[in-house]
């Protein structure tokens, strides 16, 4: 966009790459302390049961066992959301899913700990199980939370913006569809791990977490320790994708075991245990009805979602609203109704996975739109372009859109993929599909209500010129550490690799809320930029005094500070720093970021607001085997409106990783159950794409220069996943003429749809309807000024 940046937008390696490629980066399970014990958790074999007795005496008597805990040791509940404090670190009186932690031991080694678990006698009294959405709504099951029988509804929502029925009356064509998105899980390669030590009355917890600040708060509550006596350190994390965004049982348990035993304790989950800890993508059943004018313009939309939440609240209340919030960010919808319900079932709790609650409705919406285009004799490109949102506009549900290059993204992938020449014209078995998406650059509100900044950064400069950046942002592989170094280096005229970055430590670093909702570049980046600007201003002032120049004439570049247009005037960065310290004392400055107040005037308005939205368009090309039902994704084109790449290399990596994860979700991955029992809690059965399934990809970063992002940047970690799933589904339709309205699209579904097609049917596989459910009375909301009419 015509900016002349020295390091922003470049393709520099991560500043922590050497540690990664040498094997020296230490993840939580790589840490150990003298005298450290091994912690293990006993897990429920029942999906729903009362615990009538736990006898730990035999375990306690085993030599080498140093501490044993049960639910009685954790009477205080927790949960990531203040309104969903429904978990105990170990089950207290009742288990609600297979694999729920019931007791825990710390012992001198893993073998002793496992032997001790086998000696704990738990007496269960099984209860009836709720395992489906329909069952949860039926009203005749034992309630998971609370007493007695009834429905297992966690929460329901009903909102209407504008007048949906009036909107339908204006339509030339109305279409209804039903879709189902099977749940899946993050499966980060590193299994969760936490190490804890309790010394001098202070607790330290090292954890593979994306949210050290929230873990800190939860430990304070559950362990009844003052926050000032707890230190949480977010260790470099071997992948998160949202799976390490809740406070987890093993974090509390490791801490308590360390406090009780007096020795450091580490708990590393097995792969099987990670499937039970879960918090992955919700299974969602969806119904959508949309009115269109004959040129494709949307007049009205009604959207219903049914979320299978599993046994606990987790982020579920937010997940529920997210299934209704972002449909309006890509398309001008003048009248919009969202009704959703999340239910409890006796399965591991669902939560946020990359895209949190939005990939499911995005899949439904993009497939629905393609079908409507077919009905209307339009093509997938024009129906999207005629509806696409414009920059600097408001959506009907009060979301503020600023920068937006959706049209440019669509046009780019359509041109590069030759979509229009290919669609409907490739040989049978081959096809192309188009889809778009949008995602938040950070949730507009913190998880717990407060008026403090969402991100704080401190920069300290030593007398040798060394710059250290302090931020609680947790690097989960997305490159936030490198992002912080790059933003600060750009402002100070240094190289990112010159900087030290201290992250994710509640003793050392000022608060950042964590690595979720794609918030870190926008929020921590802005905080870092403010702090760096203050450092620069101090240095510039001191050097200007020395050189008898005007501050505005000074430039910082290549590690020097000098007068613009006066070569030879420069002082070195360390010298400039010493001048600044001599003039006004220690050179340490802080910056912060707080999102503007964006929430609309309705309950639930806190979900979906963001200071900026990224936009993505995707074309996928597939080859399908009509005999076996196997789908190969041949190539994927993604154009992503990132505002401004802080590091183009790392940004491309986020897009490529999103494409990969989208392909896994659309074709392979499902957290599937046989009643309440996980079908295969291992990587043997939970299949994910390897090198062989990954197609060629073409990534285009579109820079729309966001007015509020740091150097114009927006998010890239999650948005690019959204359109990949429906693009592949739409491509399968183009290839075979069948409609699979349910993901993952496994080969059996394709074969079954083809059989139906051969018999003269419509060639569809998918849900046939939605359950009867009385949603709450609609909350009617006036659209804001500037919303689409």
């Amino acid at each position: 966009m015509g900016h002349d940046y020295a390091v922003v937008g470049g393709r520099l390696p991560r500043i922590d790459a050497d540690g990664q490629v040498s094997g020296r980066t230490r993840y939580t399970d790589d840490l150990k302390m003298p005298g450290m014990l091994v912690g293990k958790q006993l897990r429920s074999i029942h999906a729903h049961a009362r615990i009538t007795n736990i006898d730990t005496s035999r375990a306690r008597a085993l030599p080498g066992v140093k501490a044993v805990l049960t639910g009685e040791d954790f009477p205080i509940t927790y949960g990531i959301l203040p309104v969903s404090q429904d978990e105990n670190a170990l089950a207290l009186g009742r288990v609600r899913h297979v694999g729920e932690p019931v007791a825990a031991v710390a012992a001198v080694d893993a073998e002793t700990a496992e032997a001790a678990l086998a000696l704990i006698d738990v007496t269960y009294e099984p209860l009836d199980e709720t395992v489906t959405i329909e069952g949860a709504l039926s009203g005749d099951h034992t309630r998971l939370h609370g007493e007695g029988t009834g429905t297992n509804v966690h929460r329901a929502a009903a909102l209407e913006f504008g007048n949906v029925e009036e909107g339908f009356a204006l339509a030339d064509h109305i279409r209804e569809d039903v879709f189902f998105f099977g749940g899946n899980t993050h499966a980060a390669l590193e299994t969760h791990s936490a190490m804890a030590a309790f010394e001098n009355g202070r607790l330290t917890v090292w954890s593979s977490t994306q949210v050290p600040h929230y873990v800190h708060r939860a430990l304070e509550k559950v362990l009844e320790l003052p926050a000032g006596r707890i230190r949480v350190i977010a260790v470099p994390t071997g992948g998160g994708f949202g799976g390490k965004t809740d406070p987890f049982s093993h974090e509390f348990v490791a801490a308590k075991l360390a406090m009780v035993s007096g020795s450091p304790v580490k708990i590393t989950l097995t792969r099987e245990e990670v499937f039970y800890a879960h918090r992955g993508r919700h299974p969602v059943l969806m119904w959508v009805k949309t009115g269109f004018r004959s040129d494709g313009r949307i007049t009205s939309m009604a959207f219903r979602t049914f979320l299978d939440g599993g046994a606990y609240g987790s982020y579920g209340l937010a997940s529920l609203y997210y299934t209704g919030a972002l449909q309006t960010t890509t398309y001008k919808i003048p009248n919009y109704r969202f009704e959703g319900v999340r239910v409890f079932t006796n399965k591991p709790a669902c939560g946020p996975k990359r895209g949190h609650g939005t990939p499911q409705p995005r899949f439904a919406l993009e497939c629905h739109l393609d079908k409507a285009a077919d009905d209307l004799g339009l093509d997938p490109v024009s129906i999207r372009l005629v509806n696409s949102v414009e920059p600097n506009s408001m959506t009907v549900n009060h979301l503020r859109i600023t920068s937006c290059a959706l049209d440019a993204c669509i046009e780019k992938v359509v041109a590069e993929s030759e979509f229009s020449a290919k669609r409907g014209r490739l040989p049978r078995g081959r096809g192309v599909g188009l889809a778009v998406g949008a995602y938040m650059s950070g949730a507009g509100l913190p998880i717990y209500w407060n008026d403090m900044p969402q991100s704080e950064v401190t920069i300290k400069v030593d007398r040798g010129g060394g710059v250290t950046v302090y931020s609680m942002a947790a690097d989960v592989g997305q490159g936030s550490t490198t992002m912080l170094a790059t933003v600060v280096a750009e402002r100070l005229g240094l190289a990112p690799s010159d900087l030290a970055v201290v992250t994710g430590d509640t003793d050392l670093t000022p608060v950042d809320l964590g690595s979720y909702s794609s918030r870190v570049t926008f929020m921590a980046g802005n905080a870092a930029l403010e702090a760096a600007t203050k450092v620069r201003d101090r240095v510039v002032e001191a050097v200007a005094d020395k050189l008898e120049a005007l501050p505005e004439d000074l430039v910082l570049s290549d590690g020097t500070v000098g007068v613009r247009g006066a070569p030879g005037s420069e002082v070195t960065w360390p010298e400039a720093v010493r001048l600044a310290i001599a003039a006004k004392g220690p050179l340490a400055e802080s910056g912060s970021y707080r999102a503007p107040k964006l929430a609309g005037p309705y309950k639930g308005a806190g979900v979906g607001i963001s200071p900026a939205y990224s936009y993505t368009a995707c074309v996928a090309e597939v080859t399908c085997d009509a005999d076996t039902g196997l789908v190969e994704v041949d190539r994927v084109w993604v154009a992503h409106d990132i505002g401004q790449a802080i590091n183009a290399l790392l940004s491309e990596g986020q897009v490529e990783g999103s494409i990969y994860m989208g392909i896994g979700e659309v074709l392979f991955e499902e957290q599937a159950f046989r009643d309440a029992l996980h079908r295969g809690p291992s990587l043997l059965e939970y299949k994910m794409p390897t090198f062989l399934e990954m197609p060629a990809v073409d990534t285009y970063l579109i820079e729309s220069d966001d007015p509020e992002g740091p150097f114009g940047a927006k998010e890239v970690g999650q948005g690019p996943l959204l359109p990949v799933i429906p693009a592949v589904v739409n491509a399968i339709h183009d290839a075979l003429g069948i409609r699979i309205d349910e993901v993952p699209i496994t080969p059996d579904k394709i074969v079954s749809a083809l059989r139906d097609q051969n018999r003269g049917g419509e060639g569809r596989v998918g849900p046939t309807g939605i359950p009867e459910f009385e949603f709450p009375p609609l909350q009617r909301v006036e659209p804001p000024q500037g919303a689409p009419r």
Partner: protein, 157 residues
């Protein structure tokens, strides 16, 4: 469980260890020798994160007993560099952003090194085949493949 006295030859050094018969090579490397660059991911030989080279061949250390590796030549990521000189793959992985969270990276590097040692000029399909046993959840493999090609080209130059 009976104790066994074995010698593991890791990264050119001999280590005498007393191990149980059921101790895996992964446990011996990580817990006995503190070589934590080799990672645990799935316990089933599916994810490849525990890959080391045994006599130059990629081997899943979580499915290999330590006693079975006794006396054989083992290379872990800690032994990939030649003293101060990093392996060309390490350089290329860092340069091209082939590591995101980095958890699969040590094993990926070793599988790739084994490939380049027998095939200095692999085409993309050959790279895909050789590395298909190493899962990565972050990168979509794109930059890993590019890094292997870059390192191969530099090795040949």
């Amino acid at each position: 469980m009976s104790d066994h006295v074995i010698t593991l030859v890791v990264n050119g050094r001999d280590h005498r260890l007393v191990v149980d018969a059921n101790r895996t090579l992964l446990q011996a490397l990580r817990e006995n020798l503190d070589l934590t660059g080799t990672k645990h991911g799935c316990d089933l030989g599916e994810c490849g994160a525990c890959t080391v080279l045994v006599d130059g061949k990629p081997t899943l250390s979580c499915l290999t007993l330590a006693v079975a590796a006794a006396g054989r030549t083992i290379t872990t990521v800690e032994g990939l560099a030649d003293g101060d000189r990093p392996d060309s793959l390490q350089v290329a992985f860092a340069e091209l952003g082939a590591a995101q969270c980095g958890y699969c990276t040590p094993a990926m590097l070793l599988s790739a090194r084994a490939l380049l040692d027998v095939d200095p000029d692999p085409d993309p399909d050959e790279i895909n085949q050789a590395l298909a046993g190493n899962l990565c959840r972050c990168t979509g493999y794109v930059k890993i493949r590019e890094a292997v090609q870059l390192a191969a080209a530099r090795d040949r130059a």
